[in-house]
Assembly symmetry: C2
Homo-oligomer: 365 residues x 2
């Protein structure tokens, strides 16, 4: 059995708690002889700042580059609101994405049947929802230069951010979306603001070309990001795979996640290019939710998004699709049994702590 190297980066807030439940799962997989994971742990975000005055240390970056996959908790919190911009908690995550070239962020927005009523949307609008947002993750306004604040004198400052996209960046994220659609309902919706942004014009042009040249069998639609956002709120089920840039993807995937009523349940995968020789790809898996500092350390956090992110790692990094299916089934079974963490509790269900939820899922497995 091959040994897989995992780097666990719990981060801040509820990160360590939910990571604990993944650790429990990994330990069991190892001891039951189902898989062979070698785990190492590092610091990222505010916890790295507290220890080393950086958002991630060079040592942990080296570990990240050497790992087969990174399992990431969450970063940030009011405690670090005043730290310098360059070492703010988020910088650690952004550096991981950039240095590992994790350009493809997959964010499924799925409505768990047991939670359909937790959404602010009407049940019929979200019941059975199953879409994926494919967000470009290493380009756009997140990393473009110049990115500066300049003092102009007279009490005036000027802030500049730059959105940059090259053809190849749009092509490769397009391919990820089209490949994914082929395994699903075969439909891709590309979103940009071509009526206002030059990057939107190029995005639209390149998506259209990739589609025509390589994926004519997939349906491709284009929406302006603002009306696409509207359509997402009005009738999300009209979509299958949505592909969009870094910033629009940030907004639209959060909104899609909230629509499902299952925010504490949703995983994500950030993937690099497949290496031609080793056939491996760099990858980072993290829950869609944040570090929730208000409930940290109280055993209230829902570990499902984190466990489910580990499930995505099994599927995308280690070719253990069957095991990933079993993890998904275990989560569904525990939910069906009525067990609920605080964020998803409703009348007639049984309250569970972070640990109780993690243990129940493991028992199910």
């Amino acid at each position: 059995m091959a040994t897989h190297k995992l780097l666990l980066l719990p981060g801040d807030g509820i990160g360590p708690e939910v990571m604990g439940e993944v650790k429990r799962l990994i330990d069991w997989l190892n001891s039951a002889g189902i898989a062979k994971f070698e785990t190492d742990t590092g610091l990222v975000g505010g916890s790295a700042y507290d220890a080393h005055k950086v958002s991630i240390s060079e040592g942990d970056m080296a570990k990240a580059l050497a790992a087969d996959a990174i399992i990431f908790g969450a970063v940030g919190g009011p405690k670090w609101d005043a730290v310098p911009y360059e070492v703010r908690p988020e910088a650690g995550l952004l550096r991981l994405r950039k240095d590992l070239a994790l350009f493809a962020n997959l964010r499924p927005a799925v409505c768990y049947p047991a939670l359909a009523d937790a959404s602010s949307l009407k049940r019929d609008a979200i019941e059975g929802l199953d879409i994926v947002i494919v967000r470009e993750l290493t380009g756009g306004v997140y990393f473009g230069e110049p990115k500066t604040i300049t003092d102009l004198g007279n009490g005036q400052k000027r802030a500049i951010d730059t959105q940059v996209y090259d053809t190849y960046e749009i092509e490769r994220i397009g391919r990820v979306a089209f490949e994914l659609a082929r395994k699903r309902k075969n439909k891709v919706t590309s979103m940009e603001k071509r009526n206002v942004m030059k990057s939107g014009v190029l995005w639209n042009e390149v998506m259209t070309a990739v589609h025509k040249r390589e994926y004519p069998d997939v349906t491709l639609e284009h929406q302006l990001a603002d009306s696409g956002g509207m359509m997402l709120v009005k009738w999300p089920k009209q979509f299958d795979v949505i592909v969009t840039d870094n910033l629009f993807g940030d907004m639209l995937s959060d909104i899609a996640a909230m629509l499902t009523g299952s925010l504490g349940m949703l995983p994500s995968a950030s993937l690099g290019e497949v290496d031609v020789k080793s056939k491996k790809r760099k990858a980072l898996y993290e829950p869609v939710h944040g570090s929730a500092p208000d409930i940290a350390g109280k055993g209230l956090a829902n570990p499902i998004a984190m466990i489910s992110s580990f499930g995505m790692a099994l599927r995308y990094s280690f070719d253990m699709g069957d095991l990933a299916d079993k993890v998904d089934a275990a989560i569904a079974a525990v939910l069906a049994s009525g067990l609920r963490t605080a964020d998803i509790k409703s009348e007639g269900t049984t309250a569970a702590s972070t640990t109780q939820m993690g243990e129940a899922i493991l028992m199910e497995l």
Copy 2:
């Protein structure tokens, strides 16, 4: 009685139809001696392109600059998808905003009680909703330079858009938001991505300073634009006034409008600075909805957003708040009577065409 100069720019798609109903209202106000409006009409968007190969002619720009207020329909449609970027329909609207320095875009998102069930959100989440999005309209990524597509050779192109904000631009839009909040529930929520964008850092810093210096009596909260978008979907009633940049405002205001279920009903105002001498300000009023080319020319369009936008003109440009209240009341009364255009029809209501709806509102007045 003072004479007010209006420029009507119906634009494309359903624009001319809904503008017709405002024209009817203006004619009546004139003939009943209630007000004295002098109207002129111009072309913008695709209709200007068809006539003059531009998105707005210099002659119409001159009229716009000379008018006391502009009443704008909508622009765009598939017919003009292939026209050069510089003369695409939207360019006319963007030029009006920029050349008239209409930096403050007010977008109320109100849930009309009669339409609460038209939303994809549950009734309790949106019933009674009354928030305003204050969107910066002449800065940011919409107008920043460089804004280019460059051919890099090897089949590669590079697209660049630039987000630029200066202190004074953030200050003045902040003031609009705080002033508005004082007349409402006294709360402003500022949204940006300070964890990723330098313009977000400056935005946050300047809002905080304006608040502290000039509006300490108003409550100010800050949200990251992505989580703010989530909060908007989850429980929009937690907000009063939201202030945000041009691009986030584009997305968030569309989403807020869709939440209400009243998209075809929502007006907007785009305002310039008040001139110290004349006490006047440049202004453009337009519905939040688009040109809806699919239903254009069929008498199906809902004229309420357009009429309500004219109501905003009465209030903000002509100090006729009482008359504006009467227009609002007439709209509410007609809705309560059960009259509905196709976009908002439901069981037990009476179907109305664009004209029938316009006439009914006028009768009510």
